[in-house]
Amino acid sequence: MKISREDVLRVAELGCLELSEAELERYRAQIDEILEYIDKLNELDTANVEPMAQVLTEVQTADATLREDLVVPCAVADEVLQHAPDPEPPYFRVPKVIER
């Protein structure tokens, strides 16, 4: 077994995800099978391979990476707040975070 019930609970906690008992067991079994399959990558010796985080070469992104740091107006705060679950313009309200 690659992944235990406790592992799934820990990961769900990290990912802020509430899972039912049924989901917990179903995902554990399915992810276990997927991880078993992923193990085939260990057939490859990658000790001298540089990891590839993204595909664009420096030449392709040369112009894209740096620009002037300019302030541009962005007057969408009202629109954004309008669809929030609990807005109090100009803020988003959340449940109490700090206990006194």
């Binding site: 992944i3 592992d7 799934v8 820990r10 990961v11 769900a12 990290l14 990912g15 802020c16 995800l17 509430e18 899972l19 039912s20 989901e23 995902y27 399915q30 992810i31 099978e33 997927i34 991880l35 399959y37 992923i38 085939k40 990558l41 260990n42 057939e43 490859l44 990658t46 391979v49 540089e50 990891p51 590839m52 985080a53 993204q54 595909v55 664009l56 392709q60 992104t61 040369a62 112009d63 894209a64 990476t65 620009r67 969408v76 629109e79 954004v80 309008q82 669809h83 929030a84 679950p85 609990d86 988003f92 959340v94 449940p95 109490k96 975070v97």
Partner: protein
């Protein structure tokens, strides 16, 4: 007006004042209302915006002004792409009432080119799936293969075009989500190279893989839409300055002598016999067109699915952290902030999204990062290198799109690993950042559509489109 299904037909008829852009839009909305109840391709329609845009086109016609390339052309947009003032759900309950405050660059570019956006199309939730069965708003029916899935994740965009409910549509492709539904619905579908089309306003799934691309009835229309979408956008630092060729103008050039590589690893066990027969006939047709067809090797193909599902889920777990019940979507209250997060996300995400968040968080977590995520990034480099080596010998690579034809609803949804394994022919070009098109390659038993995939080197969209166009003209769809 049923003949107005291509860009040129729509634009020329409007330019000749035989019909107005408003009438074209009205006709398409009429068709949508007749068929969408059954197909479920559209989630949201935007009549007001569409007619406003159609009226702008009609005013240009009246004033005798030159018409832009997509003047009056009715298009559909996948519901993971932001549209200002138009609900954008990602087919998820967690964004059920989300209305973006801005337009994606792809949307702005379409409208600037005169296109009329009809509405937003159904897809797998957050573009995660290969059958469109993961939508929170119900599956899409395949208009080309009744009773079968339309493919995914861009199933609604593919079905809308295939059913003549749009002339063209935008989809997104992360591991095959444009090419595979294009194949299943029997229409051409293309993603350009990574960096070719701006993703500003695309709601992210896996940022190192996500791309926006197009569906249409013919390769020439796919080329025309891609040309409008392509090019540098200051709002997306991953969009490149590589020059954009005139994809449409290049379509007529000859393909005889083009060197085509057929990777032997893509023809092993696991391919449906009907798919194999059609793809083999497709390759034969390329030979008849004078292409120099030869076998090549992409030796790390067998590791692509494992690599893809590490990288895509890791990036997804990070990108989807933003859905926390604070800024958008419905909130489920809890005793504390963290309880509210957990409950909101537990209730708002569907099964496949939760499964991928758990897997993606796991492969990134302390103690497992090196064994999974880092390993995946290294194998990704090997897969990309395979393609670089291959493109030193050939101009394009031709493969099947999917090992299986369109399948029945419910047939695969309970076995995620089996569903993932069917992405084998499409995830490779995604990992390597290469352009790929699916072009119709006959129907099994005259019914189930099969697609042929053509992959080009980075920023080699033009030769891929030219090859696909020649294949289509030579009767590829009726093999």
């Amino acid at each position: 007006m049923s003949e107005l299904t291509t860009i040129n037909a729509v634009r020329d008829t409007i330019a000749a004042k035989k019909v107005s852009a408003r009438e074209v839009a009205a006709d398409y909305f009429k068709r949508i209302s007749a068929r969408n109840g059954e197909l479920n391709a559209y989630l949201t329609l935007c009549e007001e915006r569409a007619y406003r845009q159609a009226d702008r086109v009609d005013a240009m016609v009246a004033a005798g002004k030159p018409l832009p390339p997509l003047a009056g052309v009715p298009v559909a947009v996948k519901d993971v792409i932001s549209t200002r003032g138009i609900r954008t759900t990602c087919s998820s309950k967690i964004l059920t009432n989300y209305v973006p405050p801005y337009d994606a660059t792809a949307v702005t570019r379409l409208e600037t080119a005169g296109a009329v956006i009809l509405g937003k199309t159904n897809c797998d939730e957050f573009a995660m799936g290969s059958s469109n069965e993961n939508s929170a708003y119900g599956p899409v029916q395949n208009p080309a293969a009744p009773g079968c899935v339309p493919g995914g994740s861009s199933g609604g965009s593919a079905a809308a075009v295939a059913a003549d409910l749009a002339v063209a549509s935008l989809g997104t492709d992360t591991g095959g989500s444009i090419r595979q539904p294009g194949s299943f619905c029997g229409i051409p579908a293309m993603m350009g190279s990574y960096g070719r089309v701006s993703r500003y306003g695309l709601i992210a799934f896996a940022s190192s893989l996500d791309r926006i691309g197009a569906f249409a009835h013919c390769v020439a229309d796919v080329a025309a839409v891609l040309k409008i979408l392509a090019g540098r956008d200051p709002n997306d630092s991953t969009s490149t300055t590589a020059p954009v060729e005139d994809y449409v103008a290049g379509l007529g050039k000859p393909v005889a002598g083009m060197k085509i590589g057929i990777p032997k690893e893509y023809f092993g066990a696991g391919m449906d016999a009907g798919v194999r027969e059609k793809v083999t006939a497709g390759i034969e047709l390329l030979r008849k067109l004078g292409c120099d067809v030869r076998e090549i090797q992409l030796p790390h193909t067998d590791y692509a699915i494992a690599t893809y599902y590490i990288i895509a889920t890791a990036e997804a777990s990070s990108n989807l952290a933003r859905y926390d019940g604070v800024r958008y979507g419905p909130r489920v209250e809890g005793d504390s902030l963290s309880a509210m997060y957990r409950k909101t996300r537990g209730a708002g995400f569907g099964a496949e999204v939760k499964r991928r968040i758990v897997l993606g968080t796991y492969v990134l977590s302390a103690g497992y990062y090196d064994a999974y995520y880092l390993k995946g990034q290294k194998v990704r480099a090997l897969i990309a290198e395979d393609f670089r080596n291959a493109f030193a010998q050939v101009d394009a690579i031709v493969t099947p799109v999917s090992p299986v034809p369109p399948f029945k609803f419910g047939e695969r949804v309970d076995d995620p690993l089996q569903m993932y394994l069917a992405d084998i022919y499409t995830v490779t070009a995604s990992l390597a950042g290469l352009p790929g098109i699916s072009v119709p390659c006959g129907r099994i038993g005259g019914k189930l559509p099969v697609g042929l995939q053509m992959i080009g080197p980075a920023f080699g969209e033009a030769p891929v489109l030219r090859l696909a166009h020649a294949f289509e003209k030579a009767g590829g769809a009726t093999l």
